[in-house]
Every structure is written in C-alpha cells, then in structure tokens.
Amino acid sequence: MDHVISARDLRVRDRAKTLVGPVTFSLEHGSTTGLCGPSGAGKSTVLRALVDLLPAGLTRDGELEVQGRPIAPGKGDADLRTKVVLVPQTPVVFGGSILDNALFGLRHLLRASREVMLERAEQALLEAGLWQEVKDRLGESAQTLSAGQRQRLCLGRALALEPAALLLDEPTSALDERSRDTVEESVAALRGRRTVLLVSHDPAQVERLCDRTVLLRPPAAVEPLAVAAAS
Amino acid sequence: DTGGGKKTLQASGSTTVAPVAADAAEALKAEGLDITVATQGGSAGGISQLAAGQIEVALSSKPVSDEDRAASPKTDFVETQIGSDAVGVIVTKEVADAGVTDLSKDEVRGLFEGEITNWSKVGGPDMEVFVYDKEPGRGTREVLDKFVYGDGKPPAPPNSPNFAIVGGNLETRNKLESTPGAVGPLSTGFVDGRDKLAVVTLEGIAPSAENVANGTYPMSRPLYVITDGKPKGDTKKFIDYLLSDEGQALLAPHGYLTLEQIGL
C-alpha cells in the first residue's frame, strides 16, 4: 500500500514518564485523517514527533516511516520536513512584512522567479481565505495582523509549499465561520492529491473533512488504536 | 606624625625601587613596623605625593629636579641614595659580534634620532637598526637623554618605521632579544647572563662597578628614597635598614648595584 507516513507504537516520553502513546497509525496517500482527543491528550506532541521536532527533553520511541524511509529519533532533516510540513498550533509570524511571511518558506525552497513565487503566494493566501484582507497591505508588518489573520497566514505559507503531507494543528481554531469554510474547502480540495493529518477539537469539522479518525486519550491509558470510519 | 597611636608608614613611587622597599618592609614587620609600598605614578608620582603630604617616603630612580623644588617650595626634599643602577646601551649579540662593541655619544644620538638606520654605518653588519626607546618619565630614559643632550631638551621621536617605545625592564629585555638589529637603553643588571644581548661601551668606557663608582661611566642612575626633611622616627628606621648590610643585600637579586659596589 501507499503509506506516506506510518507510525508503529509511537510513544513520547519525558524522562521516565510517558506523555503520549503508544499509538499506531498510517496515513494513506491522498487521504485526510483526523487526530482527536481532549486538550492535553498529546495531539500536538504526536505531530511534532512525526517531523522530529520534539522540544528538548522529550524523547520518542517506536517506529516511524515517511514515504517508506525509516526516521530514527533525532535524525529528521530538512528533506523530511519539506515532504511533511507541520503548521503548529500557535501561529508564529516572523519579523518583516506580511508578504515576507507569505513567501517565508517559498523563498528558501522554490527556485523560481519572483513573479512565480508571488503568484503562488497569492494563490495560497486565497486558499487560506486571507488574500482579500491583506492584498492592499502586503508591505505592512505582519505583527499587526489579528489572531485569526495570523492563523490563516501560517496556513497559507505552508499550503504554498505544496508538500506531500500536511500536518494541521487546529488550523481553524481562531476563525469565524466564513473563513473556516474557506479553509475547509481548500483542505477538502487536497484530497486525493495530498495527505493531510488534521488535529481538531470540533467533531463536526472532522466529520466534514476526514476519511478516518485517530483518537488520542490522555495519560498512559491511551487506546491502542482507535480508528473510526467517517465521511 | 601627629604622635600618639602607631601609624602606618607610607612609601610610594618608582617600580624600580618598590620591590627592594617591599623586601625591607617585610624584614621590618618583625620589629613591629608597618610600612605600605605602592607604585602609583612612578618616580614623578612619588615625588609629587610626598610634596602633597600624602606619603612619608618617596621612592625614586631619579634625583629631585629643580622644577619639582620650584613647584613645591614648602617641601624640604632630602634624598638618600640607597644604591645605583647602571644603564647600558644594549644591542643584540649578532650586531656586537659583527663589530659594534663601542659607540660614541654622536653615534648614540644618531641611532636614537633615526639618522643612522643601518648598522654598517657604525662598523656593524649590513642590517637595519630598530630602536627601542623607553617611555618618557622612566629613569632609564632620562639617563640616556642626559648622556646625549646634557641639559638640553631632547627632540621629538624620529618619524622612522623602525622605532618603538617600551615600558618596564622585562618588556624591554624581551623585545630587544626578539628583534634583530635592536638597540635600546636598559639596566645592565638585566643583561647579565643573557646570551642574545650585549652591552656596548660608551666612548670606550664599560659600565663596571668601578667606572660607575668613579663617575667615568656616563649612564648610571642613583636609586633614592626621598623624605620631607631629615628622616626621623620610623622613617629613619626604615632608611637605616636599607643602608645596613642586610638592606643592601636586597639590591643584588633585582639587578642593582649596592652602595659598596659603587664606592659610596
């Protein structure tokens, strides 16, 4: 089968204490999977583990394969993370303008003329539902954006990279219904082309977008693997 | 002294004399005498502090000048010589071996004013001269100036690329040793036993103890302790100790000549 990411007995520890897992799942190419669980269950931690970006002090064990290549803990590299892009839960805007932020990843990863990049960034911001609001103020500092706008900016600049897999950590938590619908449409449009792992605390959203759901329960008592069919 | 309670005796001045004074102070500690030795501002600093009444004993490697006396008319400077320091014009062994063993006053002037830039001009090898002069205010420098210019004023340092200023004696020795073709003034005690350096005779006279004693060697500097008025009380004890045999024995390890050696 065509598994973009597969994790077996993935577990994250803080010294002796197990924070998350063990959890086993695999993401098929082109599928959209929901990752659910109460606050503090370890959803964000799992996403970080998948791209090997755990905060200092936490260690992962269990097996992890990305596009068939095993990833040893601490050995994840830029190559892995261009294939699997994580959009963290807390939106981070960098110094510089809104445009700088929209181009943040592209500029480093895409060898193309500025026009092509601008076009791609515009397209991505459109998909993230932000373009209309910022198109007249692309040169302003990104620090002036509202929380929801930041969230969409972060999503947009990741979408622009067109990675094989996208890990979205509550991408619509700060959005109103209209923006949320725009984002959901864009995510839905990825189905079949890109693999998506979506963390969400909104069951309705998971219902709307995901093929399957992985449920994460807090402490050590995690359900080994709870897969519920959806959609 | 305002009398009454025991007071610490303060001595300050030249870094040349300070180690000797410190050794003497150490010896006198056993006799209940407290002496502090400091080195602020060198000889000149010591003299001006004595004039200001901040210390009781000034340590100096040069005599009190007329300007000093004029600047503080109320102070009765009394100099007591405790030893002497012969200053040589030092060249590298290489230059000396090639024939430069004696320099005349004019040759010394020519070297230090940057007119003689090659040792071949004074009978040495074909090699550039590199001049190290001491910084102003150093006793050594004043001795050299006095030899070359007498009471006249020395000119500005030469605008030559092969000229540099040095400070302490250790630094001077180190730099003379590590620079080919170097020449500079330095206490002869610092050259004894160094096989990379040589002392030249001046106008044919070597800096031996007798020549210093009988005054024929032109470059020596007396080492003084200076007081305001005749030494008395603790001050006198301190100075007497420096003049005693035990006190004089302290000079040799630092490379200076005792009063006996120079015949005083």
Partner: protein, 599 residues
C-alpha cells in the same frame, strides 16, 4: 458547583508587593551613568580649561612632542581607528559564527560547557593577553611581514580581536538564547535547513542583542590599554601619506589615543598647563570617537520589523551542501576561541605553576616576591564583590530604564552614553577618581574608592545586555501582565526583571571579570604593592593589595626570576578565582534560563 469564596475583591489601594522601589532604583541607575560621565567630563574639561588647547592642531597635526610644545593627535586618532577596525573586522564574524554554533548547533550540554569556557576567557587579565601577544603575535607579524620586532598596529588589532571575542560571543549567545523556541519550530516545520532557520527566523530576533554585543566589544577595544600597550609600539607621529604607506603602517609601530592616555604622560604632565590640557583634550577626543562609533554602529537600528528587507534569500540548488558547509564553518569558528582558551590556560598553567601549591593561596606575601598571595586574593575578592554589589543594581536599573521607557531617539542617546562610559580608558577613571576621592574628598587610598572607580567599568557591561533583552521582550507578555491589573512597578518587578535576569547576569560576569583584571584605576586609588593588612581596618584610609596590581608591578622592573614566577602564579590564581565565581553565577543563570518564556 458551589462557590465559596471570600467576597473580598482585590483592594487596589493596599496592593501587596507594590514594588514602588523600582522607580528610584531605575533612576539611580540612570543617574549613576550620568554622574560618571559628568565626573569624567568635569575632570577632562577642567584640565582643558587649565591651559590653552589648539584644537585645530590637535586634530590635524600628526606630531606629538611635549618638550617642543607640539601637540598633534591625528596619528593617534588614525591608530585608534585602524586598531579598532582590525579588531572588529576580525572578531565580529568569528564571534557571531561561534555564538550561533553554541546556541543553534551544539547539544545543550556541550554548548553550556563551551559557553562557560568562553566567558572564562573574558576573565583572563588583560596584561596576560598582552604578554601572550608579545610571545606569539609579534613574532608572527615579524615573520609574515618581514619587519623587525613586530610591534605594530596590526599586532594590537589582533590582540584586541582576541580580547573582545569572549565578550561578544557571550553576549551574542545570550541574545540567541532569548529567541523563543516557537520561532525555530515554525521555521523548521516548513522544511528549512538549519542555516536558513538561523538566518530567517532566529537572527532577526536576536539582532538587537547581538548589536549590543558588538557595542560592548567596541567599547572594550577602544578602552583597552595594557594589552595594546605591550604590542602596539607606541611610536608617536606616524601617519601614512599614500596607499602603499598605509599598508606598510599596519605592520609598523604606531600609537593609539588610549595607549597615549594610559602611558606615563597624564602623570608627567602635572595638573595644569598646556601639556596636561592637551592630554585632557585627547581624552575628550577619545570619548567623542567612542560616541561617534556607537552612533555609526547603531545606524539602521530603526528599520526593524516593518521595513522591507533589502536582500531576500534565494533558494539555491545547493541548499543541503550549503547548509553543511555553513554549519561546518560555524563550528570551526568555535575552534578559534577554543584553541585560544586551551593555549592561554596552557601557558598560564606552565608558567604559573606555583598557583597549584595550596600554600601559595593561604600564606601572605613576604617581601616583594616571596611567600604566597593570600592578602592579594582577599583584597581582590573584597574589591570585586563590592564593585559587583554596587554595579549590579545600578546597571540593571539603568538597562531596564533604557530598554523600557526611553523613546527611540532618547534610547540611542542614552545607549551611546553608556558605551562611552564603557569605552573610557580606565586610567582616566583612575585619575578622575583620584582627584575626586583622594584630593577633593580627602580620602587616602581606600578599597572603597577602588571599588567605586571600578563601578563604571561594570555598569555599562550590565546595562547594555539588559537593555537589549528588554527590547526583545514579546509585546504579548507585557499585555498579559498589565491586563491582569499589575501596576507598572509590579510589572517591572515580576515580569521584566525575571525576563532579563539571565542577560544581566552574563553582563555582570563579563564586567566583573574585566574589573578583576583592571590595574590602572586601582593603582591610583586603592591598592598598595606591599604592607596593607589582609583585610582593611577602615573605610577611607584603608588600602588593600590586589592581584592585578601585584602582577603589574612585578612584571615591570624586577630582574628577580622569582618575581616573574610570582607574577605568573598570581595571574593563574586570578583566573582560577574568576573561574570559580563564574561557575557559581553560571549555574544561577542556567536555572533562570531554563524557563524560557513563551506565548
């Protein structure tokens, strides 16, 4: 859910921990800086007023000949500029690269050790740097440029580069450590390489702190005397006329403003008259140069987040190899300070082996060069601790005030003043302190005067990194604290102070390390070479003995080999003591830094 709460709503009028002391505290910090500057300017100004100064000649004439009545400072200005430029051009890239390596490349444990080691380098007294310059740098230049001796502007620049590197690395590492991890996470998560993450996500946020690092380095470079002293050649009046001569002048002896001021002339020149006036005028020129350099170094500090960046990074075909290469270079940059540390400690340990006999530490000196150095150790500790206790609150307060309240323009002015104080040659501090404490106030030589004179050395080193850290504080943090109803004072006390504390400690460490090795101001105000009691029995008439002045006096004129051994042994002791103090403070800092603040 039942609610059983004491009905008492918070009573604002009776706030616990009102922390109102923060205002006088911050003010005291700022005032102390101003007072030092005023004292300096007053000292120099009155000197200038005591004799006619031909400013035109001073700034355009290259010859300096006091006995001939010619006072030209141009060659010294040239020397200072060249030496500092060489030092900065060499030290800035290496230090920044090494700092990035420590903060972003190495595992935390290794990084921590390296960071402490680098800070230890800052604790080596400057006279040791100078002696090592004589032993290593001069022959190098003599050989490479084919000049006799090797005393030269270039040698001075090299020694300075080495000297300011630890300061710049330590402060830069600190600035980098303050960048919240979420910025790195966000950038890595988009597939950026380490080099790209550093360049695009980390450096922009660390910039203000890293700039403060350079300013501190610059201040130290301009103000350092003794080390430069021993290798620059101190030849007056040499100014190149053509490009060829300019290149040649680099490998020839020269003079800087600082070495002139730190030499014997300020003492020889008396206390008034044209010579003294000219010397004081040189002091003013030096202060003005530090100010100019600071303003220049700060230019463009205004275009922060908002302005478009001038050059956009471009994706390259060779991203990954480039990343490796740059990473390799950065780690290699660490080798330089690393090798220096090892070499320097090696030389110190061999030459100063007497420091390893316990009796050397606990017995007092006998005479000039016999016995141990226990009195000197006690004196140094007394001076350093007193200086630290006074400087820490003042520098901390001033730094926070600068970072928090100064408007952009005022901040620049104040920051410049801070650097000027930091860049003042310490001999000037010593002389001004001597005039103020010993002449005007009638104190004798006293440990307190010594500590007070060292305070201006430390305060800027504390204030600048503190200010840089305050500036990098995320605005959300401020909002969150004030939104909970904290008063401004409480906000400063409970949010700003803990946030900036690690940077402050780094600054304090570096400042105290520098103060511990200072000689010039102490010779005039506080220390004697021999004969002071182990601990002073008074305040104003109570001199002490200290290690740096002990080393200085012994390394001057004594032909006694035992004196030389004693000097090296004392230097080793000084480094070891500083190392111990440093480790204690570093442990403290790491505890605070462990809790990085995030939003």
């Amino acid at each position: 859910m039942t609610r059983v709460r004491p009905p008492a709503a918070p009573d604002v009028l009776k706030r616990p921990r009102p922390s109102r002391w923060v205002w006088p505290w911050m003010l005291a910090g700022a005032v102390s800086l101003g007072a030092v500057l005023l004292a300096l300017l007053g000292y120099l100004g009155s000197g200038v007023a005591g004799g006619e100064v031909a400013w035109g000649e001073l700034l355009t004439e290259s010859m300096w000949n006091p006995s001939g009545g010619v006072f030209g400072g141009l060659a010294m200005i040239y020397g200072s500029a060249v030496v500092c430029l060489i030092a900065l051009v060499l030290a800035v890239p290496v230090s920044w690269a090494a700092a990035v390596a420590v903060s972003e490349y190495l595992p935390p444990r290794v990084a921590g050790i390296l960071r402490t080691s680098v800070e230890l380098l800052a604790a080596v007294p400057s006279i040791v740097y100078g002696l090592i310059g004589i032993m290593v740098v001069r022959p190098l230049i003599a050989g490479a440029a084919g000049v006799p001796g090797g005393d030269s502007l270039l040698a001075a620049g090299l020694v300075l580069a080495v000297m300011i590197m630890p300061t710049m690395v330590a402060v830069s590492v600190d600035a980098l450590a303050a960048v919240p991890g979420r910025y790195r996470e966000a950038a890595y998560a988009m597939g950026l390489t380490r080099r790209e993450v550093v360049r695009s996500a980390v450096l922009p946020l660390a910039r203000s702190g890293m700039r403060a690092a350079v300013l501190l380095g610059l201040a130290r470079a301009l103000g350092e005397a003794i080390a430069v002293f021993l290798v620059v050649g101190r030849a007056d009046g040499r100014l190149p006329g053509s490009f060829g001569e300019l290149l040649d002048s680099l490998v020839r002896p020269g003079q800087t403003l600082t070495t002139k001021l730190a030499g014997p002339e300020p003492v020889l020149a008396g206390t008034s008259g044209p010579w003294f006036a000219a010397v004081c005028a040189l002091g003013l020129v030096l202060l003005a140069l530090v100010a100019l350099a600071t303003v220049w170094g700060n230019r463009g500090g205004g275009r922060k987040a908002t302005g478009g960046r001038s050059r956009h990074p471009q994706a390259g075909r060779m991203r990954v190899p480039l990343d490796r290469a740059v990473g390799g270079l950065r780690i290699a940059a660490l080798l330089l300070p690393g090798a220096l540390l090892v070499g320097m400690l090696g030389i110190l340990a061999v030459r100063g082996s007497s420091a390893f006999t316990p009796s050397f530490w606990v017995t007092p000196a006998t005479g000039a060069a016999g016995g141990g150095v226990s009195d000197q150790i006690l004196g140094t500790l007394l001076l350093v601790v007193t200086t630290g206790l006074i400087s820490l609150p003042l520098g901390f307060g001033a730094g926070i005030l600068l970072g928090l309240y100064a408007k952009a323009r005022t901040a620049k002015v104040l920051q410049t003043l801070t650097v000027v104080v930091g860049g003042t040659p310490t001999i000037l501090l010593g002389l001004a302190g001597f005039v103020i404490f010993c002449t005007l106030m009638g104190w004798g030589r006293s440990w307190l005067a010594g500590a007070l004179v060292l305070v201006p050395v430390v305060v800027p080193m504390v204030a600048l990194p503190t200010c840089g850290r305050v500036r990098s504080m995320p605005p959300e943090t401020t909002e969150a604290a004030l939104a909970l109803g904290l008063s401004r004072a409480q906000y400063v006390r409970s949010v700003v102070v803990p946030y900036t504390w690690p940077a402050t400690l780094t600054g304090l460490l570096l400042g105290l390390a520098r103060a511990a090795g200072e000689t010039a101001p102490l010779l005039f105000t506080a220390t004697v070479f021999f004969g002071a009691p182990a601990l002073p029995d008074g305040v104003v008439e109570a001199p002490v003995q200290a290690l740096p002045t002990h080393i200085f006096t012994l390394s001057q004129d004594s032909g006694d080999p035992q004196a030389v051994a004693q000097a090296w042994g004392s230097a080793m002791v000084l480094v070891l003591i500083t190392a111990v103090l440093l480790s204690a403070a570093v442990a403290l800092r790491n505890r605070f830094e462990g809790e990085r603040w995030t939003t």
